[in-house]
Structure formats: C-alpha cells, structure tokens
C-alpha cells in the first residue's frame, strides 16, 4: 500500500501521525492543568476564606469572653463601658462574617452546619444581652454567677458548633486537595503513554519511507552504469507509483528507445549494402531527438538517391523518345557534371526532333519546298537531315502536276488529257487522271441534257445510264428515278386541286407514296377533309345564326313593346304625381290659412275674455247703483208711511194727504220692486258673463293647441311637397331611361334583321361547296326559305313566336 503513495504523501503521513500525537499530548496536558487550576482556585478562593471566617468568629467570641470577664474585674464604669464597646465591635465582626458565610455556603452539608451555628448564636445573643444588663446594673455577683452558669454552657455549645463548622470546611478542603493530586498523577501517566506511542510510530514511519526510496534508486544506478558501458541487455521494472517508480520506468523507456534506434540503424545499413536505396526507417516510431536522428539518416539517403533517380529517368525518357526539358535544379559536385552532360544530350536530340517536326509539319501542310538546315547538326545527326532533304526533292515534281489537274477538276475546269510522259508510279497516276477526265466529261453532258429538259417541262426525258460506269452510272440512274418519283405525285396533286377549284371537296389522293410524298399526300388529304368539315360547320353555324337572329329580332320587338307600355305607365304615374303635388301644395296652403285663422281666433278669444271681464265689472257697478235706488225707494216708502201716519193722526183734515201718502208709498213700492228686478237681472247677467269669460279662458289654450297642430301639419305638408318633387324628378329620369330602352330595343331589332340577312348571304356562299354526303346543299337551301317566310309574319305573330321559342331562349 505504501508503494502506491508519492514520497511527499508518505512523508506527510508520517509527520501527520507525529503531529496528531503531539496535539493529543498538548490537549490532554492543557485540559488536566486547567482542571487542577480550577481545583486550586476553589480551595484558595472559597474553602480557605470560609475557614478563616469561622476562625475569626471563634477569635471574636474569645475576645468577647475576655471582655466580659474584664467587665467583672474592672471597677471604673468608664473602663467597663470601654469593654462593652469592645464587645459590641466584636459582635459586629461576627455578624459581618456570618453574612459572608451565608452568601458563600451553597452545599447542603455546609448550609446545615451553618444553620446549627446560627441557632447556637441566636440562643447565645440574648444571654449576652442579659449579662450586659446585669453588668450595667452593677449586680456583679449575679453577673458572675450567670456567666459561670447558664451562659458558660451556652457559650461552650456555641464554640462546639463553630468548631464543627471549621472541621467540615477543612475536611472538604482536604478531600478536594486529594482529588486534585490524584487527577495530576493520572494526567502524568497519560502524557507519558502518549509520548511513548508517538516515539514508536515516528521511528516506524521513518524506517518504512527511507526503505521505499533507497532500494529502487540502487537498481537505477546499476542500470545507468550498464547503459554507459553500452550494455543494453537488462530489464528494469517497477510497479511503484511514487517518484522513484517514475525514475525507474523512465530509465527503462530510455533503454527501449535506444534499442529501437540501434535496430533501425542496423536495418538501413543492411538495405543500403543490398542496393535497396528506397528503404527508409520509420521515423514515426521514434520521438524527440531520436526521431531527428532517423529523419537525418533518411534525408541523407534522399539526397544521394534524388540525382541518381533524375539521371536514370532522363536517360529512360530520351530512350523512349520523350525528350524532357533541361534540368534546371542546381546540384553540387559530381551531381552537377552529370546534370550538364544530360542537358547537352537533350539539346542535340531536341534540335533533331525540331527539324524533323518542322519538315513533317510542312509536308503535312503541303509546303513541300521546305528544307531543314543540316549545318546546325553534327555527326550522324547531320547525315540524317541531309538524307531527308534529298528524298523530298525527288517526290515533289510529279505531285505538283497531279495536284494542279485535280485542282482544276475540283473547280469544274476540266483540263485536256495529260500528254507528258512519266516513269514508274508517276505514269500510273497520269493514266488514271486521264480516265477520270473522260468520265467526268460524259457525266456533265448527261446532266446538262436532263436539266435542260426539266427546265422546259419535259419531265419524261431520261439519260442513258449504260454509257457510264460505277458510281457515275448510279448517279445517272438516281437522277432518272428521282424524276420518276417527283412526276407522279405532282399529277395527283394537280387532279385534286383542280376538283377543289370547282367546289368539289370529295376528291382525295388514294395512291400510296413514300417519304415526303406520303407526307404531302397526307397533308393534302387532311387539308381537304378539314376544309370540308369546316365548311359543313360553317353551314350549320350559319343556319343557327339565322335562327338566332330571328329570335333576337322577335325578342327585341317584344322588348320594344314592353318599353313603350312602360313609358306609358311612367307617364300616367308622372301625371298622378303632379296631381298629388297640386293637392299637397293645396294642403300646405290650407294648413297655413288654418294656422292664421287659429292664431287670430286665439287672440280674439283672449280679447273676448277681457271684454267679458269688463262687462262683469260694469254689471257689478250697475247692481251697486241699483242698490242705491232700492234704498231710495225704501226711504221713500218710510216717508210715505210716516206721512200716512201723520195723515191718520190729523183725522178728517189729513184725509187728502193720506191719499197722497198712499200713492207715494205705492210709487215707492213699485220703484223698489223694479229696482229689485233690475238687481236680479244684473246678478244673473254677471253670472252669465262670468261663465262666458270662463269658457273663453278655457277656449284659448285649445285654440293655441290647434294652432300648433296646424303648424305641424303645414311643415309636414312642406316636406311632403319636397318628397313629391324628388319623386317627380326620379320619374322624369325613369321616363328618359324607358324611352332610351325603347329606341335601343328597336335598334336591336334592326340589327338582328341585318344579322339574319348576313347569315342568309353566308349560307348562299357556302352552297358553292359540295362536301361529303351532300348535307350542306340541303341545309343551305331550307334555311333561307324558313327565314324568309318567318320575317313578314313576325309583327303579327310576335307573342306566339315568343311562346314557342321560350325553350330556345334558355339554350342561348
């Protein structure tokens, strides 16, 4: 396991163990020392003061006891008081100590002991007080007896309690000191144990680490020595993962690299000796400077082999006729000599080849006078060039003559026979040329004969093929056949076209032809068929057009009539509207007049109301005035009665007077009655007038209302009038449109008749053609007859025609 760690980690582990133990020792020591320190502090700061305070109490009690005795021994009261003051001071000291002790005692035992002490003190204090009273009272005898008796007993008990308290405190302190000593001893033992353990572990770790480093290093040293001596025959292995293991493995890698390099060097040297210069070591197998060494060896081989290969390939190419370019690469030393010689060779061969090329190119181009310059070449190369030039001179003479003849023949200028004499192959050329001139002459004569005949229209003329041989005979036979093939179709076409010119579309070409003539025949036949079909369709269409024109005319007529009727009804409507306008205007005027009248009535009714009011006032004043008359009549009556009384009292003398008085009284009575009647009449008049006024008042608002309504009627009539005017306008436009409709439909009818006439003309034109089955002729004659009979009858039988043609209309 240790071998897998690095040296640093190993050292770290060793030191870590040591450090952990060191820290453990230090921690344990510190904790234990702290505990001891706490114990000591407790003893010094808590236990010891308690013991001191308890001893102080005993000390003070002793002082008090001595002072008490002093009070009994002393005589002077001043001194006795001084002693008593001492007692008081000591009691204060005791109280102070008890307070401190009560504050610090906190264990159960301690509190119990302190409580016993306090109980003894509580019993002691009254006795001391009693004694002091006795002393102050000067009763010395009783004081002595008391002090030595009860007081002493209680004092001793008090002392006992305090001493037991002190003992308790001391016991506790001793116990704690013992515990502290024991803890210190345990800490010492533990620390010593830990130190020993740390020592052992450290030594062990140092040994193991050192051993793991030194052993492999020794192996490496041995291997390095062997490598320095050139002995590679050893093996180094290590599976350790630390730095030393790395060193071992690196040395082993060096060994293997050197071994591989040596193997490659051996292989290359063996291959060079065996002439396999292409052999190379694989540089990719090596690394770093080793690779550079291998690559250098490879480069050296390349430098030697490159020029050799170039020279070999140049010589090879020259031998194969492939003249390479000059070598332009720069080489050094011997390589340069080789290069220069090669370049000289390439130049000489190149010039020879260039001259040969030039001559052959000139011969190919026909420039046979071209010669090469033999002075440029040397040695055997010059001899070659001179030979070639001589050969060319011998060939060119006859060739020029033949070329001239052939040239003239090809241009149509047939020359005369060649009469010069040549020898060998050149004579054969001359004879053949003469034969050719004769054959061509004959052919030209026959061709002229045939063409002259064809131009003159004599297509029956033929040339005699037997006068010619070979291909020339075939030419003449071909021309004859061509003429035969052309003449027959032309005659057929002539026949068919002549029939067509007469309107007979039934003729066709029935003979079988081939090639373009078959195409021509098909075209003419198709043309006739298409043309006859088209003519038949035109005839049919002309019939249909004639019918349709008749129907359109009928429809236009009915449309025209309907438009006329519409125009009449529109005029009636317009007249009605004008009447309506007049009545609306009348209404408006009437409404205005009514409005004025209503307004006036309302005003007059108001005035009538006022007049009635004034009447009522007048009536009331009349009634008042009549009251005055009534009063006057009453007073007159009274006066008459008094006069009657006076007359009665006057006896006989008053009789006349009595009569007068009676008359006066009657007059007064009558005037009273009349006054009363007038008053009643006036009252009833007032009532009637009031009622009239009331009625008038009621009338005024309703008249006002009537006036408003009439005004509304007037404005509504005004609007009606405007609307009617707009309707009038629209009716005018409608009228115009209807009239336009009528004239347009009449024009339509005329156009339709014109169309019918044109259709008839078309039918007559089409009658000229006679097509397959003769259908066109029958149709062509029947259609115009029907049309002519229909046209005069149309105005009378328009409605009937319309009824009959309902279905046809929908189709169109």
């Amino acid at each position: 396991m240790l071998n897998n760690l690095k040296i640093g980690t190993k050292l770290g582990v060793g030191f870590a163990i040591t450090l952990v133990l060191l820290v453990a020792i230090a921690t344990v020591g510190t904790i234990r020392l702290q505990s001891l320190s706490n114990d000591l502090e407790l003893i010094v700061n808590d236990r010891n003061p308690k013991a001191v305070w308890a001893n102080d109490v005993i000390e003070s009690l002793n002082v008090i006891a001595r002072a008490m005795r002093n009070t009994l021994l002393l005589k002077s009261s001043a001194e006795i008081d001084k002693e008593i003051e001492r007692i008081t001071a000591e009691r204060k000291v005791i109280a102070d100590r008890y307070e401190k002790m009560q504050a610090t005692f906190n264990t159960e035992r301690g509190k119990a002991a302190l409580k016993g002490t306090l109980e003894a003190r509580e019993a002691y204090i009254p006795m001391l007080e009693h004694f002091l009273e006795l002393v102050k009272a000067g009763q010395q005898e009783q004081a002595v007896a008391y002090m030595l008796g009860d007081f002493r007993k209680q004092q001793n008990a008090y002392f006992g309690e305090v001493r037991s308290l002190i003992k308790l405190v001391n016991d506790i302190t001793a116990n704690e000191g013992k515990n502290a000593l024991e803890a210190a001893a345990a800490a010492r033992t533990l620390m010593i144990g830990l130190a020993v353990l740390a020592f052992i572990l450290t030594v062990l770790a140092a040994f193991v680490i050192t051993r793991s480093i030194t052993r492999p290093v020794g192996q490496v040293v041995d291997a390095a020595r062997k490598m320095a001596a050139g002995d590679m025959n050893f093996t180094l292995t290590s599976d350790a993962k630390d730095e030393v293991g790395e060193v071992v493995r690196s040395v082993a890698a060096v060994q293997s690299s050197v071994v591989a390099l040596i193997a490659d060097a051996n292989a290359l040297s063996e291959a060079a000796v065996a002439g396999r210069l292409a052999t190379r070591a694989d540089a990719g197998k090596h690394q770093g400077d080793y690779r550079k060494i291998v690559e250098g060896v490879n480069g050296t081989l390349d430098a030697v082999i490159g020029p050799l290969n170039v020279a070999a390939s140049y010589v090879d190419r020259i031998s194969k006729g492939d003249i390479p370019a000059r070598i332009t690469d720069s080489y050094n030393g011997d390589f340069n000599t080789i290069k220069n010689n090669l370049n000289t060779c390439i130049d000489a061969v190149g010039r020879l080849v260039a001259d040969a090329n030039m001559l052959s190119a000139a011969a190919v181009a026909g420039r046979l006078s071209t010669r090469a310059d033999a002075g440029q070449h040397q040695g055997d190369f010059r001899k070659i060039v001179e030979g070639v030039n001589a050969t060319l001179d011998a060939v060119i003479g006859p060739l020029n003559v033949a070329a001239n003849y052939v040239d003239r023949i090809s241009k149509g200028d047939i020359p005369a026979r060649i009469t010069d004499s040549y020898s060998g192959d050149f004579n054969t050329i001359k004879d053949n040329l003469n034969t050719c001139i004769e054959a061509v002459n004959k052919l030209v004569a026959d061709a002229n004969l045939l063409s002259a005949a064809a131009v003159a229209g004599k297509l029956e003329t033929r040339a005699d093929a037997t006068q010619h041989h070979g291909d020339f005979r075939r030419i003449v036979e071909g021309v004859n056949d061509t003429l035969d093939a052309v003449v027959s179709p032309i005659q057929d076409v002539q026949r068919v076209m002549g029939a067509m010119a007469q309107g007979d579309m039934t003729q066709t070409i029935t003979q079988a032809y081939q090639g373009d003539f078959a195409v021509l025949k098909e075209a003419i036949n198709n043309t006739i068929a298409k043309l006859s079909e088209t003519i038949a369709q035109i005839i049919t269409a002309a019939d249909a057009l004639s019918n349709a024109a008749g129907q359109v005319s009928a429809t236009a007529q009915s449309l025209s009539q309907a438009s006329s009727e519409q125009a009449a009804s529109v005029e009636e409507t317009t007249a009605s509207l004008e009447q309506m306008t007049a009545s609306v205007t009348q209404n408006t005027e009437n409404a205005k007049v009514t409005d004025n009248m209503a307004t006036k009535s309302a005003k007059e009714a108001g005035e009538g109301g006022e007049a009635v009011g004034r009447t009522v006032e007048a009536m009331k004043s009349i009634a008042d005035k009549i009251g005055i008359i009534d009063d006057i009549a009453y007073q007159t009556n009274l006066l008459a009665l008094n006069a009657a009384i006076e007359a009665a009292r006057a006896g006989e003398h008053g009789k006349g007077f009595a009569v007068v008085a009676a008359e006066v009284r009657k007059l007064a009575e009558r005037s009273q009655v009349a006054a009363q009647e007038i008053g009643e009449l006036a009252g009833s008049s007032v009532k009637a007038a009031e009622r009239a006024g009331h009625l008038l008042d009621e009338m005024v608002p309703s008249i006002q209302k009537t006036s408003d309504l009439v005004q509304e009627i007037a404005s509504a009539s005004q609007e009606q009038s405007t609307g009617v005017a707009q309707i009038n306008n629209a009716m005018g436009q409608l009228n115009k449109a209807t009239q336009q409709n009528a004239s347009a439909s009449e024009e339509l009818a005329a156009t339709a008749e014109e169309l019918g006439g044109q259709a008839g003309q078309l039918q007559q034109l089409m009658e000229f053609f006679s097509v397959e089955g003769g259908r066109g002729a029958v149709r062509g004659f029947s259609a115009p007859a029907a049309r002519v009979s229909a046209r005069p009858a149309r105005p009378a039988a328009r409605s009937v025609a319309a009824l009959i043609d309902e279905s046809d209309f929908e189709k169109f």
Partner: protein
C-alpha cells in the same frame, strides 16, 4: 178712539158704510216671519234703526235708548219680549215710535221690528177675537186677529204688550230722561 177712525178715508171704503163696521187703520209689520199690526193712532212715527245706546242693568228685551230729536226714548226688542231670540239688525230693521198714555202722561216707546209693511184699513167685521190658545204669544197681548187677503194678522194691544211692570221700569227710565228734559 173709534171717532178718530170713523171716517172712511179711502176710495176702497165704499163697502164700509156703517159706523160699526167702519174700517180702522192699522200699521202692519213683520217680526220673526209673522205679520203683526198696531192701531195707527198709537203710532207716532217710524224711524230707521240707528245708533242705540245700551243701558246696563236692564233686562234683555230693552235694547237701550235712542236720541229722538233730543228726547231719550227707550227701545224694546219685541221679539225678545215675546220670548224669542233677540232681533238681528238688518237693512229693513225699523224702530216704531209708539205713544202711550198712562196716568195723564204721554210716553214715547220705541219698538224694534224686522220690517214695516204698510198702513191698512181693516173693517171690524174682518177682526176676530183672539184665540184662547195656540198662538206663540200670550193672548192678553192680542186685541184681535185681522183677516187680510186670506191670512191672519195679529193685532197687538199696545197697552198690554208694554205691561205695568215694564211701564214702571220705563217710567223710571223716562223720569231720568224727563228730569233731564225738564
């Protein structure tokens, strides 16, 4: 009294030819809807109802006194005197000054009535004695029932209407007035 009114005095009196049946003149007036009459010779004059000075400590039928040309005249509410309601003053309310003769002294007394009607002549034959009962008023006030136009007119006995006790009281009032006048 009969000789005062014995003369016919009117053209209508052609029917009354006898002295016994000679007509006598009466002043008629209305009071509470009933028509009464007094002999015209007892009537001094008729005045319109004017200002009446009320007198304290008087019975309700004495409305007060009026100043008749300087003389103090007591006014009796006849309706009240007859046990009815006090007369309400209206436009036609009148006071009839009646002259009474008592102990050789003449006294004027005003009687308040609703309205005076006219001076009538009633024949004796047309006067019936007062009824024993049935009328609203005490019969000793009535001197007779005159028939006028088919209906009865109560003719009052003025002396009875203004009885002794009232007269006495009136006398005292008249004395007070008389001394003043004297």
């Amino acid at each position: 009294m009969s000789q005062i009114v014995q003369s016919p005095g009117s053209p209508r009196g052609a029917t009354a030819v006898t002295v016994d049946s000679a007509p006598q003149q009466y002043l008629t007036f209305t009071l509470g809807g009933e028509m009464f009459a007094v002999a015209i010779l007892n009537v001094k004059e008729i005045i319109e109802f004017g200002t009446v000075t009320e007198i304290p400590m008087m019975p309700s039928f004495i409305r007060g006194v009026i100043n008749l040309r300087g003389a103090v005249v007591p006014v009796i509410d006849l309706s009240c005197r007859f046990g009815g309601k006090p007369t309400e003053v209206a436009r036609r309310t009148c006071i009839i000054i009646i002259e009474l003769e008592q102990d050789e002294h003449k006294h004027d007394i005003g009687v308040m009535v609703d309205a005076v009607s006219e001076v009538l002549e009633i024949a004796r034959s047309e006067i019936e004695p007062p009824p024993s009962f049935g009328a609203k008023i005490r019969t000793d006030f009535i001197s007779g029932m005159g028939k006028v136009g088919g209906r009865f007119v109560i003719i009052l006995d003025v002396a009875r209407v203004l009885s002794i006790e009232e007269i006495a009281m009136l006398t005292q009032a008249a004395d007070a007035g008389g001394t003043e006048v004297a």
